[in-house]
Subunit: 185 residues, 2 copies
C-alpha cells in the first residue's frame, strides 16, 4: 500500500473480531511506535499491552457508558494498548527546565507521534484501532499501578475490524492552510 | 517504500538544499496531515506555509541562537511550515466542556498526529523535515498575526536534505512495553 493510501484508508474501528493478532504483526506495530521522533530523543512513551480479563473489565469502567468503544476495551478486541508517558522529559531542557510555553504538556505531542506510527502500521497490516481519550485517566493509572511520574494518555483497542466504518469528512485544505500569515490564502 | 521502512528511515534534517519543492509533493504532504484522526473529528490543526524572507528572518529570531535548525528556518529550507492549533475544540465535549484530565492540552496530541503523517509523507517523497519545538511561541504568534483562539505548536522546515543525519538510538522494546500492569515484562 502506498503511504497516502494507508493514511487516507485508516478509520476509527469500534467493533472487533476475537481473532488473535499475530506476534510478528504486534511486533511491527510496537517497532513503528519505538522509531518515532521525540523531544531531544527523550522517548517518554510507554505502552501497556492489556489482555487480562479482570483488568480489561476494570479499565472499561473508567469510560463513560455512552462510549461506543467500551465493549472493545472491555473484552471484544483481542488486545488493548494503554499509552502512558513519563513526565519531566519531553519539553524540558537538558538541565531539567521547562523549555516552551506548553509547560510539561509536550508529552502529549511526543506520545501522539508514536501512536500515529502505531495506528498507521496497524492499518497497513489489516488491523483496526481507535483512539480512546475520554475516560478517567487517574483511575486507569491506579488500575495499571503506574508510578507517580507516569501518566495515562489514551487507550487503543487493536484487532481485526468487525465493521466497515464510513469515511468522516475533513475540512478543505483552504480552511486549514494559509500563506505567510494566518488567514492569508 | 514499505511503511516500517519509511518510519525507521526518517531522520531529523537540519541542513537543506535550496531546491524548490514540487507542488504535487507539497500537496500530498498537506493531504497526509488533513486525513489524520482527531478528537471528535475536530481537526484543530492549522498550517502556515512561510516563504516570505522577512517573516522567515523574524521567526528565526524566536529560536535560541544555539538551535541547529536556525539557518533552515531563517532562509535555507525552501519552506517552513508553522503548525498551529485552534483552542477549545480538542479534548472538549460537544457542549464545550473539558472532557479529560489533560485540560485543553489535547490539541498538542491531535496536532502531533497530523504532523507525524506530514513528516512520514515528506520522507517517502525524499524530502527532509525536523520538529522544531523550542522557540518563543507567543512571539511567533504575533509575527504570524494569529487570532486569540489560535496558538503556535511548532515549526517544520521542509526541503531536500543537504546532510545525511546519523541514526539516533532508541530504547529497547523491553524498556517501553509492559504487560497488563506497569513494569510487568
Amino acid at each position: 500500500m502506498e503511504l497516502l493510501e494507508v493514511i487516507k484508508g485508516r478509520r476509527a474501528v469500534r467493533k472487533y473480531k476475537p481473532t488473535p493478532i499475530k506476534d510478528e504483526d504486534l511486533n511491527a506495530i510496537l517497532e513503528a511506535a519505538r522509531w518515532a521522533p521525540s523531544w531531544r530523543n527523550s522517548q517518554c512513551w510507554r505502552f501497556i499491552l492489556v489482555r487480562d480479563p479482570e483488568i480489561r473489565a476494570r479499565l472499561a469502567e473508567t469510560l463513560p457508558e455512552t462510549n461506543l468503544a467500551l465493549p472493545a476495551i472491555e473484552e471484544q478486541a483481542p488486545l488493548v494498548i494503554v499509552a502512558c508517558a513519563e513526565l519531566g522529559k519531553s519539553g524540558y531542557s537538558r538541565k531539567g527546565q521547562r523549555a516552551t510555553n506548553k509547560g510539561e504538556w509536550w508529552y502529549m505531542f511526543d506520545t501522539a507521534l508514536a501512536l500515529q506510527n502505531m495506528v498507521l502500521m496497524a492499518h497497513s497490516l489489516g488491523l483496526g484501532t481507535v483512539h480512546v481519550g475520554r475516560f478517567d485517566a487517574a483511575k486507569a493509572a491506579q488500575i495499571l499501578e503506574l508510578p507517580e511520574n507516569i501518566v495515562v494518555v489514551e487507550m487503543i483497542p487493536l484487532g481485526y475490524a468487525a465493521e466497515q466504518p464510513e469515511v468522516k469528512s475533513r475540512k478543505e485544505l483552504s480552511e486549514i492552510v494559509f500563506h505567510d500569515k494566518y488567514g492569508h490564502e
